[in-house]
């Protein structure tokens, strides 16, 4: 048994070494340092922006505030003169259910100037994170072409698929690390700008006809957990294009565009029956958090499965092209 595990370890030693080398290159790269710096600046800027907004919740009279909001929503929903889309109506109904739950259980809604609001609004910053992450991922391959290092890398005693596998593992590690760093840094920055004591409070959300009551830390972690899959989807697309086209600019732009334009495209084309199976439609995890179900029968698990299937497809194409391609440079 020991012999078997030893031989397996030896067999995969080259992948492990190449993987560690990739990570070391990423850690040493100025781009990575810049990415983390920009994320910190973004987090601080976002906290300052949130602080500059007027407080919407009268926290001293929370119960009165909730009752007032419930009455207002009921009036809006019952007013036939106000035309509203199904999504808007659904959103109002969800807020109504949450407000009623908060009122019944004596839970105060979170303030605008609070760490809860800060952590749960961070999805606005996620576009920046996607942008920066795909830049780092595209460099994993395009730098090898740029510096002609692929020549020497392919001539190490390691099959091509192992070289690419190490790069893909590095890519996944980078995506998870960036999201984890975003999560931890957002808690630290949030604690510096807002009352850290609120981290122990609970958040009520409504999605898929179920009310969820979770702590702020868990709710924020869940949002970031979903974002990992979105990021891996974008990064896999970027990696595939950087291998096929050998162009850092095109692959980076494609990775960013699929996320940025995806939400607009999803809303514009939501009537099409196949749209819920597209890559970009399943990157909109915010809809699960806000409780707006754009498509029937679409759950976070469904989106995660679709994103993983797309990522697998992109990575399979990457393996095939990387294995077959002649390297002239």
């Amino acid at each position: 048994m020991d012999k078997l595990s030893n031989s397996s370890l030896k067999k995969h030693r080259s992948v492990r070494i190449l993987y560690l080398n990739e990570l070391k290159k990423c850690v040493n790269a100025k781009t990575t340092f810049a990415v983390f710096l920009i994320i910190i600046v973004g987090l601080v800027f976002f906290a300052l922006q949130l602080n500059s907004q007027p407080e919407q919740v009268d926290y001293d009279n929370a119960q009165i505030f909730l009752q007032y909001e419930i009455d207002s929503i009921n009036d809006t929903l019952n007013d036939p003169s106000i035309g509203m889309s199904n999504e808007m109506r659904e959103s109002y109904l969800n807020t109504l259910k949450i407000d009623k739950y908060l009122l019944e259980h004596g839970i105060a809604p979170y303030k605008t100037h609070s760490i809860t609001n800060y952590l749960l609004s961070l999805n606005n910053l996620f576009a920046l994170v996607v942008m920066l992450s795909v830049i780092v991922v595209s460099k994993i391959i395009t730098d090898e072409y740029k510096y002609s290092t692929l020549n020497i890398l392919i001539t190490v005693p390691c099959k091509r698929y192992k070289i690419l596998l190490s790069k893909i593992l590095a890519m996944i590690t980078i995506c998870i690390s960036i999201i984890l760093s975003l999560y931890l840094m957002s808690i630290i920055v949030g604690a510096l700008f807002f009352d850290a004591g609120e981290l122990s409070s609970v958040v009520v959300t409504y999605s898929n006809n179920v009310l969820h009551v979770r702590s702020v830390i868990i709710e924020s972690l869940l949002n970031n957990f979903y974002n990992v899959f979105t990021l891996i989807g974008c990064a896999s697309l970027t990696l595939m294009l950087s291998i096929v086209l050998k162009s850092g600019i095109i692959s980076t732009c494609a990775g960013i565009c699929v996320y940025l334009l995806g939400s607009q495209l999803t809303i514009a084309l939501k009537e099409l029956p196949w749209i819920k199976y597209t890559l970009f439609a399943n990157m909109q995890f915010q809809m699960y958090v806000s409780g707006v179900d754009l498509f029937d029968g679409v759950t976070p698990t469904f989106s995660i499965v679709v994103l993983m299937l797309y990522s697998l497809l992109f990575l399979m194409i990457s393996f095939i092209v990387f294995e077959k391609r002649n390297v002239y440079e």
């Binding site: 790269a29 005693p157 002649n326």
Partner: protein
């Protein structure tokens, strides 16, 4: 594959985008041997090297290194070959030390002392912790050699190693190649346009043209020299009948003839000239590589 061969290329053909780049290339490299690849641009030297490195896929043929086929066990095939291409191949933002550690660790775990020892062997110890982006081309070539020594390469394949190196660097490079051959028993395959440099270190020369090997010669046995002989009483009657030992004889000046013959024949030629009453005033010898090259591959037109 014969015993003692570290590389064997048989009937290698490569086609890229429906264009035949290499046709039936066959050659062996013996252990401790230096083989030079010569030929005009586009003749197939670099394609041969890149196919040997697995960078370009071959159409037909067999390539083996130490009895291991490139098709069946690539990892063991390439384990004992070090490649150095004409472009810079190391991570420029990392130090020479980190690059060496990066690549050598894939082969085996190397200690810091081992890496520094190899850097010292190739004369790179003073700059080993500097970033590769600050290295000259010659220093990057040294890094290639250090990597090859560190990874216990038994064959080093160099594509245009003398390009962009100053004359002093070329001399150092040549000495390094010969030292590695002598001390470490490393074989080399060297492709270059600098005929005299390749010829000065090679045991064998392969002349390429249009994807074919036109000639495979062993330098010491067959390569002739051009001897420029100054004769005080030179007359118009001098010709190959006068000197039957030489391959060719041309009058190149009022008192000078160019005699082409093997290096060990020049004594006989001078003795014969003396016997026939000619007064030899000077002799200078040059290897006839350029003439041989032009005679074999022509003027370098790519067909």
């Amino acid at each position: 594959m014969n015993m003692g061969n570290c590389l064997s290329v048989n009937d290698l053909s490569v086609q890229i985008k429906k264009k035949q780049i290499l046709s039936n290339i066959t050659f062996n490299v013996c252990e401790g041997e230096i083989v030079g690849l010569l030929g005009p641009n586009g003749s197939g030297k670099t394609t041969t090297i890149k196919t040997m490195a697995g960078l370009i896929k071959k159409c037909t043929g067999h390539i083996e290194s130490f009895g291991v086929s490139i098709d069946y066990d690539f990892e063991n095939y390439i384990r004992h070959i070090g490649f150095a291409f004409d472009k810079a191949n190391y991570y420029p933002t990392e130090s020479g030390y980190d690059n060496l550690r990066f690549f050598s660790n894939v082969y085996r775990k190397c200690s810091k002392e081992e890496i520094l020892q190899c850097a010292s062997e190739v004369g790179l110890n003073k700059r080993i912790f500097d970033k590769v982006s600050t290295y000259s081309f010659g220093m990057r070539q040294r890094l290639n050699f250090a990597k090859s020594i560190l990874t216990s390469a038994k064959l080093i394949v160099l594509d245009e190693p003398f390009n962009g190196i100053d004359p002093a660097g070329i001399v150092e490079m040549r000495e390094l190649i010969l030292r590695l051959k002598k001390n470490n028993g490393i074989s080399f395959v060297i492709s270059s346009h600098l005929l005299n440099e390749v010829e000065s270190v090679s045991d064998r020369l392969l002349f390429y043209k249009n994807g074919n090997i036109l000639r495979d010669i062993t330098v010491n046995n067959y390569l002739s020299y051009n001897h420029y002989i100054g004769i005080a009483n030179l007359d118009d009657l001098i010709n190959t009948d006068t000197l039957p030992n030489c391959e060719s004889l041309t009058k190149v000046g009022e008192n000078t003839v160019k005699v082409t013959c093997a290096e060990n024949k020049i004594g006989e030629v001078l003795s014969l000239l003396h016997k026939k009453g000619y007064i030899v005033t000077s002799v200078s010898s040059k290897k006839a590589i350029e003439d041989l090259y032009l005679g074999t591959v022509g003027g370098g037109q790519i067909e």
